[in-house]
């Protein structure tokens, strides 16, 4: 232990090297992910994906000939441990950080990354507020934000079920549940002012029982029930709702249910709207025939025994962003290993492709990511629901313009806006 402490201290005291960059022995990437706690449903598959991706990169000779090395930090161990560990990893020489899953952790770590002067790619968290409230030099997001994701859900709902009259919402009571409803309801008010919101429920995060809410919803009989919940909460809610027949009377809109399809099995009947926080689906209609996609999916299923879910795609985008940025920066540097400033310079307008469509980084560091929505269908070869009538929306049209605040911008949309969107539709 003592040696370790000394080493930590020694590393911390080293001045940041600012000379002409020799190729380092390895590119160190720190990754924060939930290995414990409820969000480990996302964090554990994402960690497996990161390991596969790193192996693949290294097998192909690394990034610009430099192998990558991953260090993982558990987001579930609490904020103090997370920030302490984050700092320790950065000070022990990490070149890039991939953080974080939780929006709360992103809000904590973004200013820290800025102060520690380390490139931080927010690979999964969805809060739109980060770049709307502050400007960052070192912080980027390799995916869409909540605004884009919610607008995709609204657009798909309006396209596939244009004549609904009433809606109720059951979201988890924390930032994501509240923010996503703020955006969704603002969009709905702008695009369909006649729709009535008949019930708003925010059961506490990690609720084990939704019986009362379900009774109430059965009495209310809304046409549409929205839930942006995920993980155990979503599973429990859908299972209890389907057992009690609520899924027969109302159309569910579940923008995160792609990550629960396999676990839900037969509990999610056909005909409900499923989203994936981006164009993420193990059977991605535009990518499923590509060799690299198939190879990754095979490896992932072999390693984890499950289908890839959206955090896996998000991780692939984070890793792809790093690779693309270093490649672009090295090219601009005459083929030599770039320094940190050069990598940051290369980030502006960067295009990279993970397992979905290519993503571009906007000048405010926000990623522009396409959005896939679909409708659940049972009765295929698999023992769980798959998607049909999939639509892939162009990310740029759904994303709040630079410098605007999402909830306000969404409120300015005009009825008929949905018909102006660029959409690719796939039967299954």
């Amino acid at each position: 232990m003592k040696k370790l402490l000394m080493a930590t201290a020694a590393c911390a005291l080293l001045p940041f090297a600012a000379f002409a960059q020799d190729k380092p022995e390895k590119l160190q990437i720190g990754v924060t992910s939930f290995l414990t706690g409820p969000a480990s449903v996302f964090g554990v598959p994402a960690k497996a994906a990161a390991e596969i991706l790193a192996e693949d990169i290294n097998a192909a000779g690394g990034i610009q000939g430099v192998p990558v090395e991953l260090t993982f930090i558990d987001e579930g161990a609490g904020t103090e441990v997370l920030t302490t560990e984050y700092r320790r990893i950065v000070e022990s020489g990490a070149d890039v950080m991939l953080a974080a899953i939780s929006s709360g952790n992103c809000k904590t770590l973004a200013p820290l990354a800025e102060d520690l002067k380390v490139i931080n790619i927010m690979w999964d968290c969805g809060t739109q507020k980060i770049f709307e409230e502050d400007d960052y030099n070192y912080v980027f997001r390799s995916g869409a934000h909540a605004g884009t994701e919610m607008l995709a859900a609204v657009a798909y709902l309006l396209k596939t079920k244009p004549d609904f009259k009433t809606i109720a919402v059951v979201n988890q009571d924390y930032a994501w549940g509240r923010d996503s409803w703020d955006i969704f309801s603002a969009a709905l008010t702008a695009l369909r002012p006649d729709v009535e919101v008949v019930g708003e429920f925010f059961p506490k995060f990690g609720s084990a029982d939704f019986s009362t809410e379900i009774s109430r919803l059965q009495a209310l009989q809304p046409d549409v029930i929205l839930s942006t919940s995920w993980g155990g909460d979503l599973d429990t809610f859908v299972q209890q709702a389907s057992q009690r027949g609520l899924t027969n009377n109302s159309t569910f809109v579940l923008p995160l249910a792609e990550s629960s399809l396999e676990r839900l099995g037969s509990a999610l009947p056909s005909g409900h709207i499923v989203g994936a926080r981006g164009d993420h689906y193990w059977d991605h209609p535009e990518r499923r025939d590509d060799a690299d996609f198939q190879a990754f999916m095979a490896k992932f299923e072999e390693k984890t025994g499950a289908k890839a879910i959206y955090p896996v795609f998000h991780m692939s985008q984070g890793m792809a962003a790093i690779q693309a940025a270093y490649d672009a920066a090295a090219a601009a540097n005459g083929g030599d290993w770039p320094n940190e400033d050069q990598v940051i310079a290369a980030m502006a307008g960067l295009e990279f492709q993970g397992l979905g469509r290519p993503v571009t980084l906007r000048e405010d560091h926000q990623g522009i990511e396409a959005q896939l929505m679909g409708t659940s269908v049972q009765g295929g070869e698999l023992p769980f629901a798959t998607l049909e009538n999939m639509m892939i929306f162009d990310g740029a049209e759904l994303t709040t313009p630079v410098g605007q605040e999402s909830v306000a911008w969404v409120g300015t949309l005009q009825p008929g806006w949905v018909d102006t969107l660029t959409v690719e539709t796939f039967e299954n």
């Binding site: 402490l5 200013p111 009571d173 930032a175």
Partner: protein, 318 residues
């Protein structure tokens, strides 16, 4: 100077030199000091024989008090934020104390738990005011109206926490030995005798309770200012349990033990979660079991018996 007092003095000196010799530990130890101060609050209560399973309440109230101060008065100075946060903790200590001062043992523990969980639920519920589970940010304030970089600020916070820890630790020890503190400790040994003396146990309890709330609040506002963020988790029952854990680890009833316990706890927890990955809870739990079963006096107990052996004489313990 005996060896018994020499060792703490050397430790303190080493601690004061941490920013120059082991900078990587500096922030970790700042957090440990903040927690240690909060744990002193538990320690003080333990001297009256009472355990609170909800003192994270004051920890959180102070930190949220600071966060609201910074939100309503952008650019408020550190000292303003600190004092207002502390004021919030003391005020709520008085209010909650009025309710719980007449309860003892399990009811005392549970009522405190209930109040902290009510506050936790409110923090989670009123998302549009408190930021819900994501909490609130405390942007780095000026220090005596001087803008600081993160490095300087953290250095300042380290010494600020160190000075507060020493000052408040000294004060708590003095208070426990003062007439008010003696009466407070009588709650543990014989409360009825206190009544025969014509004292109101409630009022005696109140004094100690508000002091403990103040200590917890100091820890909370320091923690918030160093972390730059405060979340409802600050008020959750597991946080309260952790504070009791550290108090016992340090040595139930020992004020310096609270600080040492917090430092050891924080280091074990950080390195357990770094190197034992997803079983850090198990490591901590086992650690706790070993301490309770084999060294129930905690670190203070181990230290005292060690010193007794060195001094070759048996002194009266606590």
């Amino acid at each position: 100077m005996t060896i018994r007092t020499l060792i703490p003095a050397i430790l303190l000196l080493l601690l004061a030199l941490v920013p120059f010799g082991a900078q990587g530990l500096q922030v970790l130890l700042t957090l440990a000091l903040a927690k240690g101060i909060a744990v002193m609050g538990i320690t003080v209560l333990l001297r009256s024989g009472q355990v609170s399973f909800g003192h994270a309440l004051f920890f959180a109230i102070a930190a949220y008090g600071g966060a609201f101060t910074l939100m309503l008065m952008p650019g408020a100075d550190l000292i303003v934020v600190f004092l207002l946060g502390l004021f919030a903790a003391v005020l709520s200590g008085v209010l909650v104390g009025l309710f719980v001062a007449r309860y003892r043992f399990i009811f005392f523990a549970m009522l405190n738990l209930a109040f902290s969980m009510i506050f936790w639920s409110i923090l989670e519920k009123f998302y549009h005011y408190t930021g819900g589970a994501d909490g609130m940010r405390l942007p780095r304030p000026t220090v005596f109206w001087i803008e600081m970089e993160r490095g300087t600020y953290e250095l300042f916070m380290f010494y600020f926490a160190l000075v507060l820890a020493i000052g408040l630790g000294w004060f708590s020890m003095r208070w426990l030995e003062s007439p008010a503190g003696q009466l407070f400790r009588t709650l543990k040994t014989n409360e009825t005798r206190l009544q025969y003396l014509g004292m109101s146990p409630q009022r005696v309890m109140m004094n100690g309770y508000v002091l403990s709330a103040m200590l917890c609040g100091t820890g909370g506002i320091l923690m918030g200012l160093v972390q730059g963020v405060v979340t409802p988790e600050y008020a959750y029952w597991i946080r309260s349990g952790e504070m009791v854990f550290i108090a016992v680890l340090g040595g139930a009833g020992s004020v310096p033990g609270a600080l040492v316990g917090a430092a050891i706890y924080e280091i074990v927890r950080t390195y357990a979660s770094a190197f034992a990955g997803d079983v850090w809870q198990m490591v901590l739990g086992t650690f706790l079991l070993i301490i309770i079963l084999f060294a129930p006096g905690g670190i203070a107990g181990i230290y005292n018996s060690l010193m007794d052996r060195i001094a070759g004489k048996k002194e009266d313990g606590e």
